[in-house]
């Protein structure tokens, strides 16, 4: 029996993860080859959620396409329209009124808060801290309530329009926003306690999914994942747009907070928690300095469509979504009232590049953490993977998840907690 096991461990086994996998909110496939506990070869296959949405957009008019882009992803349901309106405004030469710019910034930051808290919950779940998952998601309700009050719905806000926004932020909303800011200031301190100073969380995420600065640059990693590796990249800082141009946004990097960079999952947590605080500051600045004025540059949609039909132009819009930069390219050729070319590059498109190198040499129990680390969003990109054990049996999600949970238990015992 023992001999049997040894001979088997020296063999290589293939572990497929996905296309449907509970660690993933969306479909992608990762084929990992394992030797004992170590992953020795990985292959990432994506494309399972490729819906040809860009083609649908090229058949519709610009307003329809804008709302189609909102449906690319539920969690980033502001990021895609944001990039799309930025690109369209560049192509058409429309300048949104200042008040609209501030409102857009506020909504985008609210979305960042809810997305980051969601990520914290997902990572906690992956390492077996389910109570923390429920606790973080409870915290997330507050920002969703505020978004619901401002925009009418919890997700899919239907807020943006080429040349402005559709709804105003009223006095009552500002009160709710201020209340929310106080709530999250307190919650962020608690989150720092729970995540950053917890010995088990530290043991489980330190040195896992370690991404070096050099590799991050080479693989075009963007967003919080790149910032966790110590790169100062942030579209809000590098090419500011809308209200970010008035605010001195600086990329949040671990070296400014802790003095050192590891680029591991712990640093990613750190970056995301501090970014929540940064977002609160941005929202506070925006509501204190909100200019008065119109909401839409061209208030009449029919007039807007006519303008588009008469204009030729192309534009690239970049927005710092919660997961990284989302880029839309739009081209209008003056014959249709919609884009003739529309291309979307979502943050996960580039961030998934790092799964291969990161999974190499990782333990099987760490796979969920590595996968969750970049906060993949496959509807945006269109996604990782399954694992077979030593007998060639396919491990399902629950087994992998259990392995991950067991590792946490082991560490708990080792630490004597």
């Amino acid at each position: 029996m023992a001999n049997d096991k040894v001979s088997k461990i020296s063999k290589r086994y293939e572990i497929p993860i996905g296309p449907i996998h509970p660690a993933l909110k969306e479909p992608i496939r990762v084929e990992a080859e394992v030797k004992g506990e170590k992953v020795v070869k990985v292959d990432v296959k994506r494309g399972f959620a490729h819906r040809g949405i860009e083609y649908m957009g090229m058949k519709r008019n610009a307003i329809q396409t804008l709302y189609l882009s909102e449906r690319i992803c539920g969690i980033c349901s502001i990021s895609h329209p944001y990039a799309f309106v930025l690109a369209s405004e560049k192509a058409l030469g429309i300048e949104p009124p200042p008040r609209a710019q501030y409102i857009r910034t506020i909504i985008a930051e609210l979305e960042r808060i809810h997305s980051h808290i969601l990520w914290l919950g997902v990572v906690a779940h992956e390492i077996g801290f389910d109570p923390i998952l429920f606790w973080t998601w409870k915290l997330r309700e507050k920002v969703l309530d505020v978004l619901e009050a401002i925009t009418g719905n919890r997700i899919n806000y239907a807020m943006y329009m080429i040349g402005g926004v559709r709804r105003d932020i009223k006095e009552s909303h500002i009160l709710a926003l201020r209340d929310m800011i106080d709530y999250y200031r307190k919650a962020a301190d608690q989150m720092k306690d729970i995540f950053l100073s917890d010995p088990i969380y530290k043991a489980r995420t330190k040195d896992v999914a370690k991404l070096s600065q050099d590799l991050a640059l080479k693989l075009n990693i963007v967003g919080p994942t790149a910032r966790a590796a110590g790169l100062r990249v942030d579209i809000r800082q590098d090419i500011p747009y809308d209200a970010y141009a008035d605010i001195d946004v600086r990329a949040v990097v671990p070296q400014d907070i802790m003095g050192e960079v590891n680029g591991d999952a712990y640093d990613a947590t750190l970056v995301r928690i501090y970014e929540i605080e940064q977002s609160l500051d941005i929202i506070e600045y925006c509501i204190n300095n909100m200019p008065e004025g119109k909401l839409l540059a061209i208030p009449n949609y029919v007039a807007l469509l006519t303008t588009i039909r008469k204009t030729q132009g192309e534009g690239i819009g970049a927005h710092e979504a919660p997961r990284g930069e989302v880029i839309h390219y739009v081209k209008y050729d003056g014959t249709r009232d919609g884009p003739v070319v529309w291309k979307v590059i979502a943050p996960s498109y580039n961030n998934i590049n790092c799964w291969g190198p990161l999974l190499l040499g990782a333990e099987v129990a760490d796979i969920p953490v590595v996968i969750a680390f970049i906060d993949p969003c496959l509807c945006c990109n269109d996604r990782i993977a399954f694992v077979k054990d030593e007998n060639g049996r396919v491990l399902d999600y629950f087994e992998i998840h259990n392995m991950s949970v067991n590792k946490t238990m082991k560490i708990k015992r080792m630490l004597g907690v």
């Binding site: 709302y67 189609l68 449906r71 401002i150 009418g152 239907a158 100073s197 917890d198 949609y301 029919v302």
Partner: protein
Amino acid sequence: MPTKAMFLMIRQLLQRPFTNPFPVKYAPKNVTKTIEKVKLGQMSINNPIPVPDGFRGKLKYDPERCIGCRLCITVCPANAMEWIPEVRKIRHYVTRCMFCGLCVDVCPGKKLPGETAPVKALSMSKEFLLADYDKYSDNLIVEPTSKEQSLNNQEPSSDQK
């Protein structure tokens, strides 16, 4: 070694549930009876929490005020509007709708005699419980039921189930 997370968990255990309460604590044996009891005032249930002001629910359509400009069809991202040429009105499929509210924004509406400003033909209601087994059920199609229409839209006799 107790960690901060443990204290938090224990505190959580002692708190009231954070989520909105269900109408009743346990699933009733007989739902119809429970509803009747509530109607008679013999029982109280937890009322649903109100939706916010700007909520976008099922579309309401007032064919009287529709001028047949077809703007809503132009902007609708989901193609949830259908043009009925005979009566020059629209038919709205709720199942296709994605509740963006663009059609409401764009609708010009009509000024009835005696009014100072036009009133839109479309508006968003707060109705959101729209689940149904049949995607073409009457509840999910909003259409004009004027006299001209009633011929094409003869309801099946009511004894048919």
